[in-house]
């Protein structure tokens, strides 16, 4: 057997110095992030599924609409436009972006453990915290472009295939009119306005008497007249009376009209893009932490989907007196309060466009509190996931 003295003489070919690469540092190296990115990107099945969900579904939907409109433009409206945009972004991309990101986060947080690589990595002597933190930029380097790609497709179609005239209450109205211009347009098209626009009449309003004299077809004008208001109309009304009634109706509809557009504005698209990216980042970080904590992928993915699809809409709408603070501390509720103005709130009870801030259908929460909740979720789940990774037996 070799003695220590014997060994000292024979150590010629092996390095006798430890590499000085700060491997105890909690900061991951670029190479660690790059290889972690490669490991996730090479999961072909997962990547295909994520692309299908986040890019494929909105793309197929828009392509079908484009084709339908191209083939039968009278029956099918344009593929793009403001309403399509708000519906797709708030109803599809927001939710799917979260689920896609959460799935990737759960994968990143658990596969080293389940596939036996965690032990190899720990044996390198590299800080376990660095091993955990390397997953965050690597995963986000996939999630952020993926969500952005789907979003850019939606924006492009909604802008470039937008309708040329605004369809308001079923009537083609020029878009972007000022209040005065809208009144002028209404005065020029009294019959359209009287028959198609909704109107809420007061008890002494002369409008019902005027509009009832206009033949509007089987449905008649859309008027909400209170009890005691004027009954069936006069035998004849002058064109001036018709124009005056149309202007009154138009004025009542202007706030609603002014929140409707042909296509989303640049600022709305930027704010919406940042908002759904934030939602996706939250999904990834929370999924990563949860999967690291539980040491597996399937259950965390299910929990994340339940959180997004069931718990968040439920706790956003229902005001449970004793649980209000708990409801406010749910990240989805906080994110609903950050919904950009002009978008309907997901799970907000069908309140229509208008964004989350001050939405009466949402559990009340200040913007500051909502931001703090989001930060707490990001930091808290990162700490939990990292703690479990550091303390876990490999």
């Amino acid at each position: 057997m070799r003695t220590p003295a014997h060994t000292a003489a024979s150590v010629a070919t092996v390095q006798d110095t430890a590499p000085r690469d700060h491997r105890g540092s909690p900061i991951p190296t670029g190479a660690m992030i790059a290889t972690r990115f490669m490991e996730l990107r090479k999961r072909r099945g997962l990547m295909i599924a994520l692309i299908l969900v986040n890019i494929g579904i909105p793309t197929v939907f828009l392509v079908v609409r484009l084709l339908a409109h191209a083939i039968a433009p009278q029956s099918y409206g344009p593929a793009g436009g403001y309403s399509i945009y708000t519906g797709l972004v708030a109803g599809v991309m927001y939710v799917f972006g979260f689920i896609v990101a959460a799935t990737l986060g759960c994968t990143a947080g658990s596969v080293d453990l389940t596939e036996g690589m965690f032990r190899h990595l720990v044996v390198t002597g590299r800080s376990r915290l660095a091993l955990y933190l390397a997953r965050i930029p690597a995963g986000l380097a996939i999630v952020v472009p993926l969500v952005a790609a789907g979003f850019i497709i939606v924006c492009s179609v909604c802008v470039f295939a937008a309708p040329t005239r605004l369809s308001y209450d079923g009537t083609n109205v020029p878009a972007g009119l000022s209040r005065a211009a809208f009144e002028n347009w209404a005065a020029d098209h009294p019959k359209l306005v009287i028959c198609d626009f909704s109107f809420s009449a007061g008890p002494s309003s002369p409008v019902p008497a005027v509009i009832n004299s206009v033949p509007c077809g089987p449905n008649g004008p859309i008027v909400k007249a209170p009890p005691g208001s004027q009954g069936p109309g006069q035998a004849t009304v002058t064109p001036a009376q018709l124009r005056a009634a149309a202007v009154l109706i138009a004025l009542q509809n202007y706030p609603d009209y002014s929140s409707d557009f042909l296509y989303p504005s640049d600022s709305l698209m930027i704010r919406t893009g940042l908002w759904i990216e934030l939602e996706a980042i939250i999904g990834f970080i929370v999924g990563l932490g949860l999967a690291s904590l539980l040491g597996q992928r399937t259950v965390p993915v299910i929990l994340m989907v339940v959180l997004e699809i069931i718990l968040t809409p439920l706790f956003s709408r229902a005001r449970i007196a004793h649980l209000l603070n708990l409801q406010r501390s749910i990240v989805g509720v906080a994110m609903a309060h950050l919904t950009p103005g002009g978008l309907p709130v997901f799970g907000g009870g069908g309140g229509g466009p208008g964004g989350g801030q001050g939405n009466p259908l949402l559990v009340p929460e200040s913007i500051t509190w909502a931001v703090l909740v989001i930060i707490a979720w990001l930091v808290g789940w990162t700490v939990l996931g990292a703690w479990r990774m550091i303390t876990r037996d490999a």
Binding site: T3, T7, Q15, R20, D21, H22, V111, G116
Partner: protein
């Protein structure tokens, strides 16, 4: 900060002659003591066998040494660095296979090594090719690991160790899944690694492989190291065994029992099996022969049986059926 103190500490620590040193190491899983007050000294630059029956605590000790799980008591050091305090510095020059080596199946062997190299020093990336070549899977390095056989994954595990240019390799059952040719290759590799000045700790239950590969061994039983040292010295302390082919074996046994030699005699199909206490002078062999011949027994063959690691292992572990 800490980097400033590292070189001094390192120079000091690496003067330790021991690649692995543990004192009073204990690891419990509930009531079960998997590592029981282990005192282990592995000299640098040798192949060291860590032997024990299944469930003896071999893998647990390696996991504790590598920081994969925490020790409940005791101290330990790898290459002179106290663990877990300087674990990062210690493991920078350690390679290990623990249990069955598993990798990301959707990646190639080379890509798996790239992930591990990224967690090591930058130079580790340059060692991937040579490591794959050395373990004999360079041709399959760009195949997905999911298509690898068990033996190939073992080889990839060794390659994963080698990319760190380790001074110390802790190999837990590295022969598992290897065919005879693969086992011979692995044996050769271990010998060549030791020849380069590296220390190889080979945890195994394959006594024959350990005897052929290692310079020294420690025998672990029920979490406790019961013997350790160079194989030659340990075997010298084993009982002396004789095989005697003779006429009238039962009478021959009674004749030997009647002497004060202190031999344990058993009658078997091949004749008499005689065990003599360790350290018995060789003159006793001649004395036995004389007693038999003078007693009228015809002795056809009297052979000293070379003590093997296996027979010695069975003597010192509790798995030989000795009373509890």
């Amino acid at each position: 900060m800490s980097t400033a103190t590292v070189p001094d500490t390192f120079e000091h620590q690496t003067e330790s002659p021991w690649a692995v040193e543990t004192h009073g190491l204990i690891k419990r899983f509930g009531e079960n003591v998997a590592v029981n007050n282990v005192e282990l000294l592995v000299p640098r630059g040798c192949a060291f066998g860590y032997l024990g029956p299944n469930g003896a605590g071999k893998t647990t000790l390696i996991r504790v040494l590598l920081g994969l799980t925490h020790a409940d008591a005791g101290t330990m050091s790898l290459l002179g660095y106290p663990v877990p305090k300087r674990r990062d510095l210690a493991l920078a020059r350690v390679g290990a296979i623990v249990d069955e080596p598993r990798f990301h199946g959707h990646l190639t062997g080379r890509q798996n090594l790239q992930i591990l190299a990224a967690a090591r020093e930058p130079a580790a990336r340059d060692r991937i090719g040579p490591a794959l070549e050395r373990v004999g899977i360079l041709q399959r390095a760009d195949d997905k690991v999911s298509k690898y056989s068990m033996g190939m994954r073992q080889r990839l595990g060794v390659a994963a160790c080698l990319i760190g240019d380790p001074q110390l390799l802790l190999l837990d059952e590295p022969m598992n899944g290897l065919d005879p040719a693969g086992m011979a290759d692995m044996r050769e590799m271990i010998v060549s690694l030791v020849a380069e000045g590296r220390t190889v700790v080979l945890s195994s239950h394959l006594l024959d492989e350990v005897e052929r590969t290692c310079d020294a061994v420690a025998i672990v039983d029920r979490g406790k190291v019961v013997r350790q040292g160079p194989i030659s010295e340990l075997l010298a302390g084993a009982t002396l065994a004789l095989q005697v082919e003779c006429s009238e074996p039962d009478r021959a046994r009674r004749l030997i029992d009647a002497t004060r030699i202190g031999a344990h005699v058993e009658v078997g199909s091949l004749g008499l099996g005689i065990s003599l206490p360790a350290g018995t002078p060789r003159d006793v062999i001649a004395e036995i022969n004389r007693v038999l011949v003078e007693g009228g027994i015809s002795v056809y063959r009297l052979q000293e049986i070379q003590a093997s690691l296996e027979s010695w292992f069975l003597q010192v572990t509790s798995r030989l059926g000795a009373p509890e």
